[in-house]
């Protein structure tokens, strides 16, 4: 009986936006007559922080204080189309949509201010809610005054702008090769995970001591939200790596957990130390360089913990979750000398007993043959 330490690495990539793209978001921004900003968008915030991030993006793109900006996602009448809060698309695609709308509003504010100040709009800029001449900040007018004048003195204009962001649908040109006609995603994010664990060879239990995450997320619009996504994803990923299964004895449909007492979601006591390294290589097309990070945060845990188990006790467990039972069975096989892969010429064949060839009776078309297909 002993505890063994191990360490394992995984590297992951994940697309921003829906696969094959075509998933658009529209937004509409209008100014109240005191210059305050209403953002109407359809991006539902499920806790991911998209409302907060969109507010920051609009404030920056328009040049007004953050607390001037109201984000309204109230219903399908008021909000323009958004495909949904999934596919890691809210910051990049939704964020670009509100940014484009904000830039249009900014352009219009500058045009009106240019007329009022009798200056070419190209020589004006907006910061902190004030329009001023570049290089001559004493020549200025507030966005509030511009909006007020537009509404009450210059014909009652509603200063507004719409923005749509979409990457066109990527068509599969050839079903035999999967060749496509354009990028099937809005961007790609990358990350790496290291699991540091301890395996108890008597109980089969795996304890994660430290988990390191390094993600290139382009640029963090709000670093606290990014940390929250990575930490939350890490723990969800450790759940799927070690604890969770809808069907604990898959393929059997029996023994499903029907509550949090019998379905093993990670709790606070399972929490390891999490180190997060935030890398920022700004994405060319992302709003202010941002890329996605939400979903991929639960992808590195399964493989890195499985690698760490091998490092600790020398067994490969390739079915998730990596339960004590599976670890013990693998250790038993190892003790019996039955864990080595079958070697056939230059083939090194693991996990034969799990293969479709061993369990099912598929025809030659589906069978996993050793010839390249």
């Amino acid at each position: 009986m002993a505890r063994h330490k191990g360490r394992g690495l995984a590297t992951i990539e994940y697309p921003t936006g829906m696969n094959q793209s075509g998933d658009l978001t529209q937004s509409w921004i209008k100014l109240k007559h005191d210059g305050r900003v209403d953002v109407l968008s359809g991006t539902v915030d499920i806790g991911n922080g998209s409302k907060t991030a969109h507010r920051q993006i609009v404030a920056a793109a328009l040049g007004v204080p953050v607390d001037w900006v109201t984000v309204d996602v109230s219903d399908t009448d008021a909000s323009p189309w958004d495909t949904g809060t999934f596919a890691s698309r809210c910051t990049f695609i939704g964020g670009n949509a509100v940014k484009i709308a904000a830039e249009r509003v900014r352009e219009r504010v500058l045009e009106i201010a240019g007329k009022m100040l009798e200056i070419d709009p190209a020589d004006l800029t907006i910061e902190e809610g004030v329009v001023f001449a570049r290089g001559a900040p004493e020549t200025n007018i507030s966005v509030s005054d511009v909006a007020h004048a537009a509404t009450w003195q210059l014909g009652g204009e509603l200063i507004s702008g719409t923005g749509t962001f979409v990457k066109p649908f990527a068509k599969i040109l050839d079903q035999e090769t999967g060749r496509i006609d354009r990028d099937p995603h809005a961007a790609l994010s990358y990350g790496a995970s290291v699991a540091e664990i301890e395996v108890d060879d008597e109980t089969g239990e795996v304890r994660v001591e430290r988990f390191i995450e390094a993600y290139d997320i382009g640029y963090a619009i709000n670093p606290t939200i990014v940390e929250g996504q990575i930490q939350g994803g890490t723990v969800m990923g450790l759940g799927l790596a070690l604890l969770e299964a809808s069907y604990p004895y898959y393929p059997s449909p029996e023994h499903r957990g029907a509550d949090f007492a019998s379905y093993m979601a990670p709790s606070m006591v399972d929490l390891p130390q999490i180190d997060f390294l935030c890398l920022e290589n700004p994405s060319v097309e992302g709003p202010f360089g941002a890329k996605a990070c939400g979903e991929m945060a639960n992808n590195g845990q399964g493989p890195s913990v499985a690698a760490a188990i091998h490092d600790a006790v020398g067994v490969w467990v390739t079915e998730l979750p990596l339960t004590p039972e599976r670890v013990l069975r693998a250790l038993e096989k190892k003790a019996a000398g039955e864990d080595a892969p079958r070697v056939d010429g230059k083939w090194v064949i693991f996990d034969e007993e799990l293969s479709i060839n061993a369990v099912g009776a598929p025809d030659a078309d589906v069978k996993f043959t050793f010839d390249p297909f």
Binding site: E319, W347, A361
Partner: protein
């Protein structure tokens, strides 16, 4: 203050921490609401031979019982906008294909009265042999899990021009790779089905407006998408439905395709009263969509110094009893089977397989959580089999700017190299100088063997 990069507190956070945020279940209408409960299949696969709700309808407090006959358009597909045909009934018609599949729904004065009515509905079933193991779906004598067969019969879109029954990605010359390889490492990887388990269960409140419009307070992750579903099932244009997005108590993909909005709306349509349907925790665990289980077999052709020359895969995706988003997930999966690496010669093959379990659906990392598992398990095994450093095998094969993915996408800013270098440094791993100096710029050939330069440069394309 500079807005971008600021650690601003959550916009709606003050409500969250003071208990003042209104989730759907917290909404109180002055006129009150009826409560819904569903009759769900007790079998994994069965024909419904008789259905009698007359006793249930006469119970006190019961206002309406709906079946498939009450739904204007009972079968509507979640991926209709992608041309994928519909297969899943909102309420079962004459057969059930998974345990927990909704057959009928009741609206009553209270949850208890609604449940009592559900329990009083008399149904007779003729059980059929279910299919649970994806690996047996292709057996000639396998039970039939779906009316289309045991796997999605077309990936091409419309039924009429069906297209292939499998998703394929092929690039380069796999035969060359297997020939040239010093070693071929094969493994089987099986990520499990798991639950989203959001703290807030599915809940919907449907309120009919005097104008005839239906307003649904929804916990959906995608209100326009869901509004489209509700309108399609009700057979009304988009101005016939208004979805109100409340706070959402966690989703993780499980609240993309919920049927609760629509069933509450059909009950509200029939009773002309507001109806709330709040799933129990047990329903959320047992009857809501799961992350799919996957079965993946991989063989990698490698050189003795760790170059991955080629990869062959076979993937089975457990769609459960109906398609939902499984064709999408299967395609996305195959697009990413090379992981964060550039593999010049590949052949990826995947099926969306039907089984008699709850349909699987979107979940965080959809389709790709499984590819990360296969790609990384393989790299770790390759390093072990060849006695090489797993960091160096990764850096060697890493995606670089200008590299071509298996589906011919050219990479613009792939960060495999910087993330591996950063994590190695933090973990106290000392990389060899040539790997420490590596960048994400196109390969120069410095680390690349002469004979492989040409293969890499043409991205494995013939």
């Amino acid at each position: 203050m500079k807005a971008i990069g600021a650690r601003l507190p959550r916009y709606e956070g003050a409500g969250h921490v003071t208990g003042q945020t209104l989730f759907v279940d917290d909404i109180r209408l002055p006129q009150g609401n009826l409560w819904a409960k569903a009759l769900r299949s007790p079998h994994h696969s069965a024909r419904i031979t008789s259905f009698d709700a007359s006793k249930a309808a006469s119970l006190p407090g019961v206002h309406a019982i709906i079946t498939h006959a009450d739904v204007p358009r009972n079968v509507f597909g979640h991926l209709a906008f992608l041309g994928v045909p519909a297969d899943e009934p909102l309420l079962a018609v004459d057969e059930v294909r998974y345990l927990g599949q909704p057959i009928a729904a009741v609206a009553a004065d209270s949850e208890e009265a609604a449940q009592a009515a559900v329990d009083a509905i008399e149904v007779e079933y003729e059980e059929r042999e279910p299919l649970f193991d994806m690996r047996k779906a292709f057996d000639p004598d396998a039970p039939k899990a779906h009316h289309w067969g045991n796997w999605l019969p077309y990936f091409g879109g419309e039924l009429e021009n069906a297209g292939p029954d499998r998703r394929r990605i092929r690039k380069g010359d796999l035969e060359w790779a297997f020939e040239k390889a010093d070693t071929i490492v094969k493994g089987v990887y099986r990520p499990a089905a798991i639950e989203h388990a959001p703290l807030e269960t599915q809940v919907a409140l449907a309120v009919p407006e005097p104008s005839g419009r239906m307003v649904v307070y929804s916990c959906t992750q995608a209100m326009h998408f869901s509004a489209g579903h509700v309108a399609a099932h009700l057979g009304v244009p988009l101005n016939g439905v208004k979805l109100v997005s409340s706070a959402v108590g966690g989703g993780f993909g499980g609240k993309v395709d919920s049927s609760s909005d629509t069933i509450a709306a059909v009950l509200a349509l029939k009773t002309e009263r507001p109806v709330k349907w709040r799933w129990t925790r047990e329903e959320e665990f047992l009857c809501s969509g799961t992350r799919a289980a996957w079965h993946i077999e991989v063989a990698d052709a490698v050189t003795k110094d760790g170059w991955i020359l080629g990869r062959k895969t076979l993937t089975l995706h457990d769609a459960g009893a109906y398609l939902r988003h499984s064709s999408y997930a299967t395609t996305k999966h195959t697009f990413h089977c090379a992981g964060a690496y550039t593999i010049p010669n590949v052949s990826f093959l995947a099926f969306a397989v039907f089984t008699n379990r709850v349909p699987s659906t979107a979940m965080r990392g959809f389709g790709v959580t499984s590819t990360s598992f296969l790609a990384e398990m393989q790299v770790n095994r390759i390093a072990k089999v060849l006695d090489l450093d797993p960091y160096e095998v990764r850096l060697k094969n890493a995606n670089r700017i200008g590299d071509t993915m298996p589906n011919t996408v050219v990479l613009k800013d792939p960060s495999t190299v910087p993330v591996v270098q950063a994590i190695a440094e933090h973990a106290g791993i000392e990389l060899a100088p040539e790997y420490k100096a590596m960048t994400w710029e196109p390969r120069t050939g410095a680390v690349l063997p002469e004979w492989l330069v040409e293969q890499q440069a043409k991205g494995g394309q013939d």
